[in-house]
Symmetry: C2
């Protein structure tokens, strides 16, 4: 029998955090790509556009005028998917037709007054200011809602409809599907192994050193063993932290720095403004926030779509939608292509 080599031989890997499997077929990168090529990403965005509803001083869809903000700016989404007062669909009449009430709040957070910057082009103190708003909005909305989802869609490829640097916050009266899966897995792991799943996982990755992308005094960035997207990463605090508001000032400064480094690496990889969706997961909040959530560990997921270049992406389609996630390179190969790319390619615009 031949010796197994992950980079040569397809195999499946288990995601213990979200209870899912991925098919890893590394040899598939050899196939030629004749499919869709994305439009080039290096468009020029004007620094200020009075018609862009995210800019300082602009008028939004509902007629409100934005302040002339010069740092971050948090406001209510004008087209929220979740509103605070939707009536309940009432009891279901059949087990195959189950609907439940959903209430919530959707906010938008502008990172910077300028439209032509992105997080990796912002200064470390400017990124730190974003982190502080993430923490405070989690605290504010988390007082009422059990889940506060902070996420950033970056780039047109990720459905982002506005180039101005911003993220969204959707707080909900229910624990979303993926939060439920992470809750179940982390709870089961803790009760079996007497330590938080992601604490042990971070510890193991530090020992194994095969998938680390960046480490700092307080943080780790790694390509998870079960990564689905080509350059997917997981950002973890070293300390056991349940939620964003608990981060100390030193941890926040260090987070700003490691985010800048990670996103600069991403931009350098294909010499483009790297698209991704990212988001934070921490212990549930709301009225049950005081319960024991020690099995949780705060973390952020980065899901970038690019595969081979700035214009060739990985499509999660047929097999992935119908059967199982599939990737064409191993996570280990990806983490090694990420190392070294720390040179800042584009001058920091906010110097």
């Amino acid at each position: 029998a031949r010796t197994f080599q992950a980079s040569e031989h397809q195999h499946i890997r288990y995601n213990p955090l979200q209870d899912e499997w991925v098919l890893v077929s590394a040899h598939r990168m050899k196939r030629p790509w004749q499919g869709q090529v994305e439009p080039s990403l290096l468009e020029t965005v004007p620094r200020h556009d009075p018609h862009n509803p995210l800019c300082p001083g602009a008028t939004r869809a509902n007629g409100e005028v934005n302040p002339h903000y010069d740092g971050t700016f948090l406001f209510d989404n004008d087209f929220p998917a979740l509103q605070p007062d939707a009536p309940s669909p009432g009891p279901s009449d059949h087990p195959l037709f189950q609907a439940e009430a959903a209430r919530g709040v959707c906010k938008v957070l502008c990172f910077h007054p300028w439209s032509d910057v992105t997080l990796p082009l912002m200064s470390v103190p400017e990124i730190r200011a974003v982190i502080d708003v993430w923490a405070s909005v989690t605290e504010d909305l988390g007082a009422q809602y059990p889940w506060v989802q902070i996420f950033e869609n970056k780039g047109a490829m990720m459905g982002c409809s506005n180039p101005h640097p911003h993220c969204q916050v959707w707080a909900s009266s229910f624990l979303p599907d993926i939060a439920q899966r992470e809750e179940k897995s982390q709870r089961a792991y803790q009760s079996r192994h007497r330590e938080p799943l992601l604490m042990e996982y971070g510890h193991q990755e530090l020992l194994r050193k095969e998938r680390l992308v960046l480490t700092s005094e307080h943080w780790l960035v790694l390509v998870p063993f079960w990564a689905v997207w080509p350059f997917q990463t997981l950002l973890l605090p070293r300390r056991h932290v349940l939620r964003l508001p608990e981060l100390t000032p030193a941890e926040r400064d260090d987070l700003a720095l490691i985010m800048k480094k990670l996103l600069t690496k991403y931009d350098n990889l294909f010499e483009t403004s790297f698209p991704y969706s990212m988001g934070w997961h921490g212990a549930p909040t709301g009225s049950e926030a005081g319960a024991n959530w020690d099995h949780w560990q705060l973390h952020a997921h980065y899901y970038p779509p690019l595969l081979r270049s700035a214009t060739v992406r990985k499509f999660m389609v047929g097999y992935e939608m119908l059967a199982q996630a599939q990737r064409d390179l191993t996570p280990e190969q990806m983490s090694s292509s990420c190392s070294g790319l720390s040179r800042v390619l584009v001058a920091v615009a906010t110097a």
Copy 2:
């Protein structure tokens, strides 16, 4: 308290087949779209291109020459994600680092010798011939493998790298993730309610008449109550059928006709060659095929990405990747926009 209206008030719905929730925020369709617009889909494809590896008589990547086929053509994928003989990764040394062996076969099935047709433009007997190959390849590969995934990625938007009408077949030594979820849900439903989940579901939809798109003597097409994609549909036989090879000649003819009708409706919706990923799910095969799988019901899922027009798609990004699937119109609204669109827009090219 206000009266609940699904088309006005956001709510969450449960997918009992795949054990997932979706957030339905119908009011969100009011928001303007300023994001990415897809390239127009009506490109002209030459009927025959000797450099296209899927065409009759063309030379493929591995040097093989295709026969001058004049019906369907099934062959081994030159860049298979699954190969029959990959060695096993061996036992895992830690519960957070679990990998397992994956073996299998990947095939490509050309539907027609011409590159400029699609299933809805093919004649009913031509579609019937495709169905016969689906049944026989399931039988052949299913003799050895527990899961045979037939899927079609149609359109560049769905990562399809070749316009020639074709689908893929990936047979695997493992039950893929989504197959496992459907297995678990259908088994639990049967043991609780003493009938197959999808038999009762089809029955209920026929009674409720709110989400039906097409019905025929042997088949139903409906927008599932828990649909995630805007125009997602579920295709179900009326009779209890476990796998494709069991379909009778009459059921196969009727399937060809209802597929042609469904796909014509799709094309007419935005007057374009409608992109989608679709695939078949039936009871597991392989050495366990003889076990009791009566809780299964054969079905096909259609997942089309378009939302508002031929060039504006739904992006499943930030919130959807990090928290939960979200849709901007109710399934009921979608099924009513589908009815009526049965006129054949583009003349049948194979007349």
